[in-house]
């Protein structure tokens, strides 16, 4: 809760992401820049809400940036000015920022610089399961990973000091299960602080990565890494817990929690099983070699417990001459997030003992019990303007549907089926460029407004430049819907400071697109007409389908008064157009077509597409 996030002292209950935010506040953060993405979003969202409340006490700048690379570079600017900066993003966001990350490693941090990468083991809401600890290895940067919510706060705060002490940007890795868990956090002080402008100090020998400079900077970076490696061997967030036997357990990040409970379960059910020694690690890179070597002295083998890739396992194998067990030879699963049972099963394999429960039996039995539970797949909300847009695209004769990432990816589902490809943000326009060379069919690509600003502009400019032929529909719901309604340049809003609105149509025209039309998404007839023209147009055409996100629109109207819902009259001849071509969670069919007035938000789109004109506003009958 916001009030707990900014509380002065005591013990409070915080979401993992709020704990990371609190750590940054306690470190006296000067700037937070972010592009939203699950599971990272609440870090920046909570700092956005706290920003005006802390003004005058603890000042900092907060911006939602247009994409992760921009967020990263904004934070670089702050760091080069000697200020403390954090930028937050989901794991795939680091791919977008990677170009800046690799070079900034050479330059080095001046003010504390922390990039938070929120990974998503099990892909709860992501397109892949990449393990961003590799970025530490590849870019020669330290990577930290907390094992609990309280530790997330402590480490987030400490990251700034580490960054300044070693002159390096720090990668702070969190993941869904930690970011979206809540726990008790012991608060430290938020310092009193104003922001003062400083004079720019030129340091071209480090700040300009000319080849001649870079050649000198690379060995410097390696030296810094060597020093930090030694520091991590003494790091207070890495520790050894004594135990018995010849096999040690290395528990990384949150896996430490699983290891603790799994071991206690194994001890409770096997009288001959003794608690093994455990090395708890929160520094993931560089590998604390001395500490690991010390831990294994006297041991005959170790097992590494870590989520996603066998990262520490591989490094430990290279370091030690005793057997290192883990994912690579199947003791623990290679994919998906861990849990107590998964780790207990893995340890039981290693220690040749029994798990406290027959988890496989439990899983099988549960699957059978759940088999009659109907699925509740995510759907586009009642009144979602995207539904109307997809419906219009199909009616207008679109044939090939490159799309993008956002709520509108749900347009993949029946009956809309207007999403054929989703690769990563911005790829709708990018992929359309390539398809348009070869595919015989009318290409109608879809992209959200936030996604357009994030990474849609470059590929669209490419289409103008190379004179390609397709239609790009920008689905402008005036928000970043998918990740919790963050603002973006098209909204002209910024929770903490001044903001100006950037008009999508001006941007598109400025790029040289000649066919540009803006249509209200709920005006389906007009939308179909315009789309037909856009599809016929030779060259790249852009249609901006605009209506605020139904959730925000409905919230606004509820504040003002009642909402007019719709109902199905006797004239309905059950042609099923509203269900089989259009679709809405509020429209149900059970012998008759009906509208659930609890769910209907009164967008009137179903009424406008009903061939019988059999859907009417409810107030008419009163």
């Amino acid at each position: 809760m916001l009030s707990d996030l900014i509380k002065e002292e005591g013990e409070v209950f915080l979401l993992g992401n709020e704990a990371i935010a609190r750590g940054a506040l306690e470190a006296g953060l000067d700037l937070i820049s972010a592009y939203p993405g699950t599971p990272s979003s609440e870090i920046a969202d909570s700092l956005a809400k706290a920003c005006p409340l802390l003004r005058g006490k603890m000042d900092y700048y907060m911006e939602y940036s247009t994409n992760e690379k921009v967020a990263f570079e904004t934070a670089i600017g702050a760091s080069l000015a000697g200020k403390r900066a954090m930028c937050t993003m989901k794991h795939v966001g680091v791919n977008v920022a990677a170009d800046s990350l690799f070079s900034f490693a050479y330059v080095g941090a001046r003010g504390g610089f922390v990039v938070v990468s929120a990974d998503d083991p099990s892909m709860h809401s992501s397109q892949n399961e990449q393990d961003n600890r590799w970025y530490g290895k590849a870019a020669n940067l330290p990577v930290l990973e907390p094992s609990s919510v309280n530790e997330a706060k402590e480490l987030s705060k400490l990251s700034f000091e580490i960054s300044e002490k070693f002159g390096l940007p720090v990668i702070f890795r969190t993941y869904t299960r930690l970011s979206h868990s809540s726990g008790i956090v012991k608060l430290g002080k938020i310092p009193e602080k104003r922001i003062e402008k400083v004079k720019w100090e030129r340091k071209p020998e480090t700040d300009v990565v000319l080849p001649a400079h870079a050649r000198k900077l690379k060995p410097e970076l390696q030296k810094k890494l060597e020093r930090i490696k030694n520091y991590f061997s003494e790091f207070s967030f890495n520790w050894i817990e004594e135990g018995d036997g010849d096999t040690g357990v290395i528990a990384c990040g949150l896996s430490y929690a699983y290891v603790k409970e799994a071991i206690s379960n194994l001890v409770s059910c096997n009288s001959d099983f003794d608690k093994p020694p455990v090395l708890k690690l929160s520094s993931m890179y560089p590998i604390p070699e001395q500490l690991i070597t010390k831990f294994v002295s006297g041991l005959e083998r170790v097992v590494v417990v870590e989520e996603v890739d066998p990262f520490i396992e591989l490094h430990t194998r290279a370091l030690l001459d005793i057997p290192v067990l883990g994912k690579m030879d199947g003791y623990l699963p290679m994919n998906y997030e861990f849990s107590i049972p998964v780790v207990e099963e893995g340890l039981a394999r290693v220690f040749k003992t029994e798990t406290s429960k027959d988890y496989n039996l439990i899983r099988r039995r549960a699957e059978e019990i759940a088999s009659i539970a109907p699925p509740r797949p995510p759907v586009l909300c009642p009144g979602c303007p995207h539904t109307a847009t997809f419906f219009a695209i199909r009616k207008a004769g679109g044939e090939v549907f490159p799309s993008d990432i956002g709520c509108y990816t749900l347009g993949i589902n029946k009956p809309l089926e207007a999403v054929d490809t989703t690769i990563c943000m911005g790829a709708s326009a990018g992929v359309s460029n390539g398809l348009s060379y070869f595919i015989d069919g009318k290409i109608v690509a879809t992209i959200g407004d936030s996604t357009f600003f994030h990474s849609g502009m470059a590929p669209l400019t490419n289409a103008v430049y190379n004179n390609l032929n397709y239609t790009l529909v920008i689905m402008d719901n005036s928000t970043t819907g998918m990740t919790g309604h963050q603002p973006h340049p098209g909204t002209g809003k910024n929770p903490c400071g001044n903001a100006r609105k950037v008009n999508i149509e001006d941007v598109v025209r400025g790029m040289g697109v000649e066919f540009v039309e803006v249509v209200n998404s709920y005006n389906v007839r007009k939308l179909i007409d315009v789309l037909k023209k856009a599809i016929e147009y030779e060259g790249v055409s852009v249609v901006i389908s605009r209506h605020p996100c139904a959730i925000l629109w409905t919230r606004e109207r509820r504040k003002k008064g009642r909402i007019t819902t719709f109902y199905v009259t006797e004239e309905c001849n059950v042609c099923m157009e509203c269900i089989n071509s259009f679709t809405c969670p509020a429209i149900t069919f059970n012998e008759r077509v009906e509208i659930d007035s609890q769910l209907c938000v009164g967008c009137a789109v179903c009424s406008s597409i009903c061939p019988q004109k059999a859907i009417k506003p409810l107030k008419v009958i009163k």
Binding site: F13, H124, S182, S339, Y359, A366, A373, R376, P378
Partner: protein
Amino acid sequence: MTVKEINILIAGVGGQGAITTSSILARAAMERGMNVITAETHGMAQRGGSVEVHVRMGDVYAPLIPLGSATFVVSLEAVEALRYAAYMTEKTAIILNSKTIRPRAGYPDFEEILKRLEGVAGEITVVNATTIAEKVAVPQATNVVMTGMLAKKMERFGFELQNFEDALREIFPDKLRDINLRALKAGYGAME
């Protein structure tokens, strides 16, 4: 009385307030000086999808309840409980809202739901919490009514209604406080 571990799984449908319920429980545990961790589902499951929230109290480290270890399952919607059978054992007590939210894909027979749950759990209390919420407050307070029911059940671990009332006061803004206190008490009363 020292309690080693209490695991509570809250199941429901997006918008039913499963996360708010977990916040009340967590603060009630803190009132009692207990450690507590909760884990929530976000993202794709948000709108109209199934939502599960795990609440773990006591000597625990990991956010998710281990399989076969739920002390309580609070199901804000009837069929949702079925999805979480993996967490249940013969020691699990289920509090089940008999109110249904039917997705397009159909809905099983209520008796069949109960029969299946009886096969795995130790105890099932079926109540139409939504009706109670409508009577004393608003239907949206169904989750708080069910929290009140759970509060009664948790007395055996030393919890008192007061802990939940205090928690609730912390969480809800002034204007929603009284209505939710009524819902909490009504739920508690329904279990007596």
